[in-house]
């Protein structure tokens, strides 16, 4: 269900470039369900998203997965921090995500790096702003909802897997 929410909201908000709740949700998943389950969510989301967007190529899927995985790890590491700190690192996660795509686009699609970087600036600013704003307002409420909805796994349940 968490994957479904992640994928559906991203598809619904495709009309507005870089405005999405993806980073907010992944940070919340990192803070609540942990890295292992969060990685599964990210993997399924990357596959489905690229199938829908007709971009099922490793040159897009790999940087997307890496960028979102870094975001997930940030969410996990900052799970006990205040939302202001999480928001700052959420913004940085957006830049890291953009950096992965920059590398992939420049190396595999032979795009000129400087013009691409300059053209990408407004979208990166929007992405960072969106991440910070959504995390500031929605991080705590969503984390509370997920924690109340999904019981934490006990150690003996993990051992039986």
């Amino acid at each position: 269900m968490l994957t479904a929410i992640l994928t559906v909201q991203e598809e619904l908000l495709t009309v507005i470039p870089n405005v999405q709740f993806t980073f907010l949700l992944i940070i919340c998943y990192g803070a609540t369900i942990g890295i292992l389950d969060g990685t599964l969510v990210v993997m399924v989301h990357v596959i489905i998203d690229n199938l829908i967007m007709n971009s099922f190529t490793p040159f897009i899927m790999i940087p997307m997965f890496l960028g979102l995985e870094v975001t997930l790890i940030i969410g996990y590491l900052l799970r006990n921090r205040k939302e202001f700190i999480v928001a700052i690192f959420g913004g940085i996660a957006g830049l890291i995500y953009a950096a992965f795509f920059f590398g992939s686009t420049v190396f595999f699609y032979n795009v000129e790096p400087i013009p691409y970087l300059i053209a990408d600036i407004p979208f990166d600013v929007v992405l960072v702003s969106c991440n910070v704003i959504t995390i500031l307002f929605l991080y705590k409420p969503i984390v509370n909802v997920i924690n109340n909805s999904y019981p934490k796994r006990r150690s003996y349940e993990l051992e039986s897997l």
Binding site: I121, V125, V126, S129, V132, I133, L136, F137
Partner: protein, 133 residues
Amino acid sequence: MKKLIIKIIISLILIGISIGTFIIVNNINNKRENEANINICLYDINDELVSSKDIVAQKDDKLLDILRNNYTIRTSESTYGAIIYDIDEIKTDFKNTYIAIYVDDKYSNVGISGIKIYDGMKISFKEMRVYYS
């Protein structure tokens, strides 16, 4: 309450920065789309190249203004538009010599006031002798 106010202020600042960035980049792109790189060559009476300059102008700039900004020129006005007599070292009097205008190596059918700027154009000003029949 204090936290909420701080969050709102931060959000408004970020929204302002995002909108401002889009406006600035949009203006830069519009200016770049409107840019025209032109090459202006001057030839003397012996058809030897005197100077060649690459100039970045805007597509709606007037050629006369571009010349005024980049060369020392002498012109006069006529019913057909401006007539150019001197450009830097090339000096004519319209009795013995005159300046012919070539656009992309083709003799221009219009005077200097009628030439429209576009990206990649080459304008040559050649000192020519006046022949009387």
